[in-house]
Symmetry: C2
């Protein structure tokens, strides 16, 4: 894909972008503020810029007069970049040089990997799915050769594909004789590799064996994510009418939803308690399966893939979510000494769990390490390749809990800290998941305090997701609207800061610019919740490093996982003290690490064994009675941290800001 250079004036900042990229997004990525309060949905008309030279597609719009259009004015949110471009930012959006210095120089976001690159984190595997289909042809039986149908089929598989030691699912045997004859002794069979060898799970009349799909699911406490994979092509299925046009989100067959168990309680503990009630466990199991079935319907609908073509399902979840999904009472996860029922779960038939997939589909559950370090983390460690590398790596999965893994190819250690679901939208007044309409990027003009917001799908905003929250808090502190304790400064500099029903708040989007007919605000309570969340995660990392006598500076690599959508602004995450302050080059953002691992496991037999090896080699550090953790947590309850020396770059920027003020 062609790369073009876009230069913004008067700051002179530039950024390299792909052909067709949206100009408002490019500006946000370059750290160039352009007022925009409708999320990029082309309704507010505030993102007016002038094309000083170069190629861009940008239509007329009622917010532009014909004369303005003639002079080169465009709406940034309506502009697709078609060549090198010079863009002039109008005065009302401009940030002066002094303010600009505060914002720091943005490094190119190399930590965001392409879908192809992300599979390169793990080495030494080929596309060789755990569940695969093959064609088999047999000679019809004769009086001289009348072995049983199953023996004929197994012998043919052996001869034609060199696969030995196959066991057969009883359900296949039940229908085998009829299918072999109806198919004229030419069939497509589905095999699965288990710990005990190959198992024949389906026989169909000759079909396209490339049509082999799996569904991978990350069961989070707050959010459930699913993707539909083409196993033979080693990728997430592209939706037939989903060419990514900048306004449509779901170019790929991926879907998510709140875990409907939330109605029984937001955190795992309340759910474990609920499961103890009569019928509670069954209800919780059915509830999570209901959410998953909804996601499966959505995936099948958007991809137009027939349900019968799904051969496999891989599930990664924390230990409590996994046990509730399987209907295994999680009671003892909650009671000291915090024991899960099993580390390894044998493949379970999907229909047995109530999952609406074919009779032959089995659910592979990622192995678990401990009560609070589950299959989602093993999947993330698998997907990010830590277990193969020399490099000392910190892996952080930021969800409802913060689970952190430290190690390399020789050793792995983990902790889990109860972080709360702020980044998934819970506990935040207008919080939401990273789906269409969520504010995912925020910039605030340090003089006018007007926001530039971008939403997922560039539609009118309906709430704010995790990455938007990090952006917003970082911008609020950088512009001085809040102090390092997260409290609003009430100097009346902007009417966007006001007293609302829940205390002080900042108005991100006004009623008329939203899809919910209500102002979207960020409250002081929201900010307090965010601080607790980020403090727990940072403290978890610190304690884990301390436990092996290492410091942040010794890390070679930090891998961030979490359902933040496409963007997590690492600089801003460091600015609020969620992440340690290290060179940007050391960070990799893998998005949903559990889904990444689940995809890889679907694609490769070799990684099946690796997943089990990872779960066995990981040592868990229990934080429940850990004094050091509470001290570190308290020390981190500040923006970015009470230990200023740990965040020198942030300190320098805050110092510059004070000087400028």
């Amino acid at each position: 894909m062609d790369k073009y250079k876009v230069t913004f004036h008067p700051s002179g900042r530039s950024i390299s972008v792909d052909e067709g990229e949206n100009l408002l997004q490019a500006a946000m990525e370059a750290g160039v503020h352009i007022n925009a309060s409708c999320g990029g949905s082309t309704t507010c008309g505030k993102c007016k810029i002038k094309i000083a030279g170069g190629a861009a597609d940008s239509p007329m719009h009622p917010k532009l007069s014909p004369a303005e259009y003639e002079e080169g004015y465009r709406l940034a949110c309506l502009t697709s970049i078609r060549g090198d471009l010079n863009v002039e930012i109008p005065p009302e959006s401009q940030v002066d040089k002094a303010a600009l210095a505060l914002k720091g120089d943005r490094e190119q976001a190399s930590y965001l990997l392409s879908p192809k690159d992300i599979y390169q984190l793990v080495q030494g595997w080929d596309v060789d799915p755990t569940v695969f289909k093959i064609h088999v042809e047999m000679d019809p039986p004769t009086l001289e050769d009348n072995v049983s149908d199953l023996t004929r089929l197994i012998t043919a598989i052996n001869r034609q594909h060199g696969i030995n030691g196959i066991s057969t699912d009883f359900r296949v045997i039940m229908k085998l004789s009829r299918i072999l004859r109806e198919a004229g002794w030419k069939v497509t069979v589905t095999l699965v590799l288990t710990r005990k060898g190959y198992k024949l799970i389906n026989v169909e009349p000759e079909a396209d064996s490339r049509q082999n799909y799996s569904i991978v699911v990350d069961i989070g406490t707050t959010t459930i994510f699913g993707q539909l994979l083409n196993l033979n092509e080693c990728k997430v299925v592209a939706c037939p009418d989903g060419i990514c046009d900048g306004t449509r989100l779901f170019a790929l067959a991926e879907a998510s939803d709140y875990n409907a168990q939330i109605s029984f309680g937001e955190d795992v503990i309340i759910r474990i308690v609920y499961a103890q009630k009569p019928g509670g466990l069954k209800k919780m199991q059915e509830t999570v399966v209901g959410t998953i079935n909804g996601i499966i319907e959505e995936l099948l609908g958007m991809s137009r893939i027939d349900r019968s073509l799904i051969s496999h399902m891989v599930v990664a979840g924390n230990t409590t979510m996994t046990q509730l999904f399987l209907g295994i009472d999680p009671k003892y996860i909650r009671e000291a000494p915090y024991v899960p029922t099993a580390h390894f779960i044998p493949p379970v038939r999907a229909v047995h769990l109530g999952i609406n997939l074919g009779e032959h589909v089995h659910v592979y559950t990622f192995p678990m390490v401990a009560s609070y370090v589950g299959g989602d983390i093993v999947a993330g460690v698998l997907g990010s390749g830590i277990f193969q590398r020399e490099a000392l790596t910190l892996y952080m999965d930021i969800g409802t809990n913060g689970e952190i893994v430290l190690g390399n190819k020789d050793w792995l250690a983990s902790v889990s800290c109860s972080a709360g679901p702020a980044f998934e939208g819970a506990g935040i007044k207008f919080g939401m998941r990273a789906t269409s309409g969520a504010i995912e990027e925020v910039s605030i003009n340090p003089h006018t305090y007007e926001p530039m917001i971008l939403t997922i799908g560039m539609v009118k905003p309906i709430g704010i997701c995790g990455s938007g929250l990090i952006d917003a808090v970082a911008e609020l502190i950088e512009t001085g609207l809040i102090d390092q304790n997260g409290k609003f400064r009430l100097d009346g500099a902007t009417e966007r800061v006001r007293k609302g029903p829940d205390g002080y708040e900042y108005v991100l989007a006004r009623k008329e610019e939203t899809r919910i007919n209500d102002d979207i605000v960020l409250t002081e309570i929201d900010i307090g919740n965010l601080i607790r969340t980020k403090a727990a995660i940072y403290a978890g990392c610190k304690v884990l490093l301390d436990s092996v006598g290492l410091s942040f500076r010794e890390l070679d690599q930090v891998i961030i996982a979490g359902g933040f959508g496409r963007h997590l602004d690492l600089e801003k995450a460091m600015f609020i003290g969620l992440l340690p302050e290290l060179e940007i080059g050391k960070f990799i953002f893998v998005g949903n690490g559990s889904l990444l691992g689940a995809r890889l496991l679907s694609f490769s037999q070799a990684l099946l064994k690796e997943a089990e090896r990872i779960s066995l080699m990981m040592t868990n550090l229990e934080l429940s009675n850990h004094n050091g953790f509470m001290n570190e947590f308290m020390a981190a309850m500040f923006l970015p941290h009470t230990d200023a020396e740990a965040f020198p770059r942030v300190q320098e920027r805050l110092r510059l800001k004070k000087k400028a003020a």
Copy 2:
């Protein structure tokens, strides 16, 4: 057990018997005729004999006057032998010397093996059940040692019992955590050895691990047999109130019933056809499971063993019965080239099939050889040890079909011939299975033509079973009441031969002596059916031997299996031409060979692999288009056979009889 000598006068014949044996049975076994037409039920009073000396218990009876009792007269059917005994047979029961010569000298019935001896046919196995229970104790988890419950259990099994490579049934995992804690970390676990290693199928609070039982079932086309085994003691369970007192049959937990599928048709072909109707297969499956569940209830009731103590079920059946039991359409078994669906069936959960046993119980199905040589035959070959011996052995299983195996440790060949269910009571006017009230032994006085009949359980007769039928026909021909074509000689010598509604017949028991308020007769049609049955079986043996260039004389051993109850009189079976005429010493009667094999498989892990090896090494000879078979069948439609030279001893006896007449 003490052995006593009983001598019968005036013939002087004697027999060695066990302490407590019934005198009427001893006489029958010795070939001594005593009139008895009530089956030994103490009602007809005809079996009056005189004790001339020795020890016997025998109570008074209304049919004996006090004077007779004083003189030493007793009813034979009421007499238990307590020491060496001299018995005088009264004139009305006596058979003269000439007639006696005809009856031949009876060899001691060494071909009947004791329950202990029968397990010695197979060498090289120990009591080491496929499904077994062990005690496991664990240390409770601590914060320092909080591995998952399953890992703790598996590790403990490994350390305490040296068992590795255990996989776990998902259902065990579901309830594991609760049970371990309720049981105080002391549990009894049930493991099963499969082709893929050990599988953990049940965990209970600490229980008596010796209480480990299995149910073995032989699914015949006509009759289903079941036994309840104590796996650790390597025997059929003894019923608590079933001390064998000579009138009670079921000292052991064994039960049988007609296969209720009979209502859909007597032979496998009609049932296969029925299974093609809509819902037919399901109905057939449910029907056979219904019969099996009834047998299980009976076994549990008579043994007073709790259902939850049953850990395993082993099933042997012919291929059609096996497929119908499992719900696998047997359609192609019937159509050339006669292909079964599978030779090996993986263990199936009993509840999945509708079997009323615990959730954890799996059904092991004996592997099959061909469409008409099924798991019942593999079980018989396993149980009788043919596959281990140098000796050239003929194995004959006489049921609804006649299945015959020839070979030794190096090779095995089989044929199946459609024999018809005459020996199981079907196609015989008063035919019945070998259960209480069945006439199982018959002697006919060659002068008076009065019968001596013994029933199973020595109760009033209600019908005649396979061994009684063989006895009766042999006696009818020996006494000259029928000719060698099976037709009655109508010389008016006895009113017991008469014309009935179905043609000529012999009255075995009169209305007033039976429990069915009807005369029990044997008709010419019955005899014709018996001739067809025995001809098919004999012809099958002949063709199988011919196919490998061998003759009957070269056989080292003949093993007879079939549900004949306790007794099959080999001499009489040879006399009618069912069995080839060989030295009695070459014969072994194993009773129900399929159940024997099923028991052994339950008792020994080592034999699990042997069963699969047997099914793989056996070559089946297809008789469906075999010209030689039809010729042999026609030649055998005579009593004993059209080839008189093949039965020299029978010829000699018939010659003597003619001379005497």
